[in-house]
Every structure is written in structure tokens, then in C-alpha cells.
């Protein structure tokens, strides 16, 4: 327990000292928030869309860049090699990464919701606490996914390509940046298989429709995020590498698909039920 706590405290200190972390976790999504909120201000639905977009940007950035790219950087720079000679196992490092991301991100979410309420007259969600729980689950699930990408990427170049392959489709096809109802039929089918779709829809269900997490579709979204978190945690522990010289075989990249399996299952289920 002492190891976990020490790593979390250290990770938080390091994160708050890095301008890039502050920029990508706070400033970058806030720029989007203010820009779109100023343009779309007025209706409850539009502000919920802006908040959802800003949160999704933050969650994906935290997962893929904050957890994934940073883990590759630490391996490439020989930082993990220094940890390797101590009795520590990968678990505290991975759990530390997830918890730190959450601790840094949650104040931003609260700030964002309060700004949307006080500056742009968006009503606060009825299930405010459940919304925070749901976003937290999404954040941890996407950080787990980022850590799996870090585990299967042999170099920073590979990692960057993999991250971009996930980041942009999730941003563009999840409904976070463009309303999914306006997608053509083929894109709507693809939309159902995009993991970030469930994060976006869950948030919109809670904020716009006033739904709670007990609603069946939201329960399923919670379930797939939990499965991704557990699966991602186990796989990234199993495939964890301390040194850049330890290469992983190309076929191991398929483990990323294993982590995404709950989302694929959800996509198939929705394909047949919509």
C-alpha cells in the first residue's frame, strides 16, 4: 500500500509540474468549451453538447496521451528501467497512472459543469454525482486502453501511430464533435462500434434526458467500461515492459482488440436492436 501511495503522490506532483499536462488536461478542452459555448449558447441541449465534447476531448487526451504516450516515454527514456531494479511490480505503476489521471481530471469536470451552469445558464444535471461517477469510469477505462497501447507499442513512433488511429475516429465518430443523428447510415453503424460513443451517449443521457445510471442502456455502458478497465489493467500488467530493448512480437498488438471486445459486443447488440 505504501508503494501505491508514494507513486500516486509523486505522479500528481510530476503531472502538476508539467506544462503539457496542464495544457492538454485543462487549457486545451477549455479553449474548445469557451469557443463552442460562446457560439452555441442559449439552449440546454446545445450546452450539454458543448460540455460532452469538452469532457470527451479531455478523457481521450488523458487516456491516450496522458497515460499511453507518457508510459512509452518513460520506457524509452530509461525511467522504468530504474524502477525495474527495485522490488516494485508493474501493478502500482499502472494503478498509480489511472488514479493520478482521475485525481487531476475530476476538478476539471466539476469546474466545467459549474462554468456551464453559471456562465451559460445550463441547468445542473439532476444526477450530478452519477454523472461524475460515469465520467470517472470512462476516464479510467480510456486510461486502461492507453496503457494497453503503450504495452504493445515497441517504439514511440508505433505508439504515436496507434494512438492517432484510435484518437481521431473516436473524436469524430463518437458523436462528441458532430451530432451522430446527422451521420449517414454507414457511419451510424460504425458509430455503434466506437468505444467513445458510449461515453458520449451516457453523458448526454444523464445531462439531457435526466436519466440515472440504473437505466438499462446506461448500465450496459457502465458494464463495458468496467470490463475495459479490468481487461485493460490485466493485459497491460501481463504485457508490461520495463525497457525499450524488450521488444514485443507484432501479433501481441491484437491484445488491443481484446480490450475493445466489450465495445464490439455492445456495437453488435445495438446493431440488432436499433
Amino acid at each position: 500500500m505504501r508503494q501505491y501511495l508514494a507513486i500516486i503522490v509523486m505522479d500528481i506532483k510530476l503531472a502538476l509540474r508539467l506544462r503539457a499536462v496542464i495544457f492538454f488536461n485543462y487549457l486545451f478542452p477549455l479553449i474548445f468549451f469557451f469557443t463552442f459555448a460562446t457560439v452555441l449558447r442559449g439552449s440546454k441541449g446545445d450546452m450539454a453538447f458543448v460540455v460532452t465534447m469538452s469532457v470527451t476531448l479531455g478523457v481521450l487526451g488523458s487516456g491516450f496521451f496522458g497515460a499511453g504516450i507518457r508510459a512509452i516515454q518513460e520506457r524509452e527514456m530509461g525511467i522504468l528501467r530504474r524502477y525495474k531494479v527495485t522490488p516494485i511490480t508493474p501493478a502500482p505503476l499502472l494503478v498509480g497512472s489511472m488514479v493520478t489521471g482521475w485525481i487531476i481530471f475530476i476538478p476539471y469536470i466539476v469546474l466545467l459543469l459549474l462554468m456551464a451552469h453559471f456562465l451559460y445558464a445550463m441547468p445542473l444535471p439532476t444526477h450530478f454525482f452519477q454523472l461524475l461517477v460515469f465520467i470517472s469510469l470512462g476516464l479510467i477505462a480510456f486510461r486502461a486502453l492507453g496503457l494497453v497501447i503503450a504495452s504493445v507499442a515497441n517504439t514511440m513512433q508505433e505508439g504515436t501511430i496507434l494512438v492517432q488511429l484510435f484518437y481521431f475516429p473516436m473524436l469524430l465518430l463518437s458523436g462528441a464533435t458532430f451530432p451522430a443523428e446527422k451521420f449517414p447510415r454507414v457511419m451510424q453503424i460504425i458509430h455503434n462500434f466506437i468505444p467513445a460513443t458510449y461515453l458520449v451517449q451516457g453523458m448526454q443521457n444523464i445531462m439531457l434526458k435526466g436519466e440515472s445510471l440504473t437505466k438499462r442502456e446506461n448500465q450496459l455502458a457502465v458494464l463495458v467500461m468496467l470490463l475495459t478497465t479490468v481487461g485493460g489493467g490485466l493485459i497491460s500488467t501481463k504485457l508490461f515492459r520495463w525497457e525499450k530493448e524488450e521488444k514485443i512480437r507484432g501479433s501481441a498488438k491484437l491484445w488491443v482488440l481484446a480490450v475493445l471486445a466489450p465495445f464490439f459486443a455492445m456495437g453488435i447488440w445495438r446493431w440488432f436492436h436499433t
Binding site: 505504501r2 508503494q3 508514494a6 509523486m10 527514456m77 528501467r81 524502477y83 531494479v85 527495485t86 522490488p87
Partner: protein
């Protein structure tokens, strides 16, 4: 050597794909000993040391470190040893004292960061970010991290490579302190003077094999290399009248007749006879030097390579 060695290695083999980096080596390290693995880059030193640290699995043979099998009891072993790696890094924005406190939390037993910082002359730098430290300060921090769990066995993998001579001497001083505290130290190096100065025993390793093992002096004595005796006299010597001294292999007299170099396989005996002869000749001795083969000479003789090859 004590009855129970701290490290015992038998027929150790390490293969990477088809390359055999370590080819069946044997050695033991006793408690309190500073043991050096000396060899050029790619000789198998780092592979050997990393197997013993529990960082890489061995391909064959046996190894025990502090009674633990480094392959099967990694965590227990890592909790008891200190390691200073050849190439390592810390996060740029981590402060010196934070690093010691963080790493200290990973072990079941740890020394106070304050004590270590003062000892390693890092107290003034305790609040500095890692990225602002000089090469020597980073290496002192690496040694402090290796000592954070107060280990009785330390592995130092090329601890002074790339450092300037003054900092190298500082690090030598720290290793000598560890030696005086009766800690067992395993050191890899390709600096001859480091091995000669610091090590109780040295294993010369080349192409994955130990080609010689012993104290630096024993290795020098085993050498077939000749010692050189340099004599300078006040009056010129007659080159034609120089006798054949016992065990002398070759003599060379300078043009001025006052400087003589004698190569010998048993320099003590030859030197004694030279002194006797000079006295009989009534010559005034102005200077005398005896140069024994260095560890580097021994290394070149055994491997046919220079250490920096």
C-alpha cells in the same frame, strides 16, 4: 574466502536469439569483497551482472545471490540488493530528495533520505530537479538510490563511464567508503585503473568467457610479460662490458651510456644483481625504476585486444 559465498555462479549461460553472450562462466564472490568484472564492450559483463540482479533470465547454469535464485526469487532478492545501472534516468521534474523518498518506499527497509543526501554530498541539491543536475551529481544520486535500502550487496555497472576524471575520482572515493563499510560490491568496468584501485579480485571477461581471475597482483604476476628496470648512473657504462644478469632477457643502453633498461622475468633478483654490479664497478646510482606489467598488459596478453576495443 568465507565458507558461504555471497554470490555463486556455475556454468552460467546467456543466449540472445542465436548469439551466446555468456558462455558458461564460474565464479564466487565472498562477503565484504569488491569483485570486478573487467572487459571490453560486448564482453558479457552487463549480461552477467543483470542476470545476478534478477533483471534477465539465464539460459543455462546456476546462480545464487545472497542465497536467492535470481530467476525465481526476484522480488526477495531485489529487496536486499542495491543496483547502480549503466544507463538510467529519472523524470526531469523529480526533485533529488523526492527521488530518494519514493524509491525508499519500495523497500521493506530504507535509510533516511537526509542521511543519504549528506553522505553523497547532495544535501545542497536536495530540492533541485533531476534535469538540472550535472553528470557527476546524477551519478551520485544513482549511487544514493542504490544505497537507499542499506544493502549489504551492491552491483555497480560501469559507475564512472562517461564522467570526467575528477568526478571519477569522487565516485572511486565513495566506492572505497562502501568497501570500508564491509559491503560486498560487484563492479563492472573497462577502466583498468578503476579495477586496480578498487577491486580485491578481478575476473577478466572476453567474448562471454572468464579468461583470468584473481587479485590484480596475482594477475600481474601470472603474466608472461617482462618487467622493466630503468637505471640511471652518474658515469657512462661500457655497453660491451655489461654482464648477463640472472633472469635478464634483454638490456638496452642509451647512446650517452648513462641510462640502462633491463627486461627481466624475475625483476627482484635481477635488480639485486644489477645493484651489486654497480657497486663493484664503483658507479654512482642516480635513479632506478621498476615497471611491472599492468593489468592492461595482462588483458592484452590474454585476449589480444585493447580494453576500449
Amino acid at each position: 574466502m568465507n565458507s558461504q559465498p555471497v554470490i555463486a555462479v556455475q556454468s552460467l549461460i546467456k543466449t540472445y536469439d542465436k548469439v551466446e553472450a555468456v558462455k558458461g562462466i564460474d565464479f564466487q564472490v565472498a562477503e565484504g569483497e569488491v569483485f570486478g568484472l573487467l572487459g571490453p564492450n560486448g564482453a558479457g559483463k552487463t549480461s552477467t551482472i543483470e542476470i545476478l540482479e534478477g533483471l534477465r533470465p539465464r539460459t543455462g547454469g546456476n546462480a545464487t545471490v545472497l542465497g536467492f535464485d535470481p530467476d525465481r526469487q526476484k522480488q526477495e532478492l531485489k529487496d536486499r540488493i542495491g543496483v547502480c545501472l549503466q544507463a538510467t534516468n529519472l523524470p526531469a521534474k523529480m526533485r533529488v530528495q523526492e527521488a530518494l523518498e519514493l524509491f525508499g518506499s519500495f523497500y521493506t527497509r530504507s535509510l533516511s533520505s537526509e542521511q543519504l543526501l549528506k553522505r553523497l554530498q547532495l544535501w545542497e541539491k536536495r530540492a533541485a530537479f533531476y534535469e538540472t543536475l550535472s553528470g557527476g551529481q546524477k551519478q551520485r544520486l544513482a549511487l544514493a538510490l542504490a544505497l537507499v535500502n542499506d544493502p549489504q550487496l551492491l552491483f555497480l555497472d560501469e559507475p564512472t563511464t562517461g564522467l570526467d576524471p575528477q568526478i571519477r575520482l569522487e565516485i572511486h572515493g565513495l566506492i572505497e567508503e562502501m568497501k570500508s563499510e564491509k559491503r560486498t560490491v560487484v563492479l563492472t568496468t573497462h577502466y583498468i585503473e578503476e579495477a586496480e584501485r578498487l577491486c580485491d579480485r578481478v575476473a577478466i571477461i572476453d567474448e562471454g568467457k572468464i579468461v583470468a581471475i584473481g587479485t590484480p597482483r596475482e594477475l600481474q604476476q601470472k603474466s608472461a610479460e617482462r618487467s622493466r628496470i630503468d637505471i640511471v648512473t652518474g658515469q657512462p657504462m661500457n655497453g660491451a662490458a655489461l654482464p648477463q644478469w640472472p633472469d635478464a632477457l634483454e638490456s638496452k643502453l642509451n647512446a650517452d651510456g648513462k641510462s640502462l633498461a633491463v627486461y627481466s622475468s624475475r625483476p627482484a633478483r635481477t635488480l639485486f644483481e644489477i645493484m651489486k654490479w654497480l657497486d663493484q664497478q664503483g658507479m654512482q646510482l642516480e635513479d632506478v625504476h621498476l615497471k611491472r606489467p599492468t593489468l592492461e598488459d595482462v588483458f592484452v596478453e590474454l585476449t589480444g585486444k585493447k580494453l576500449r576495443d
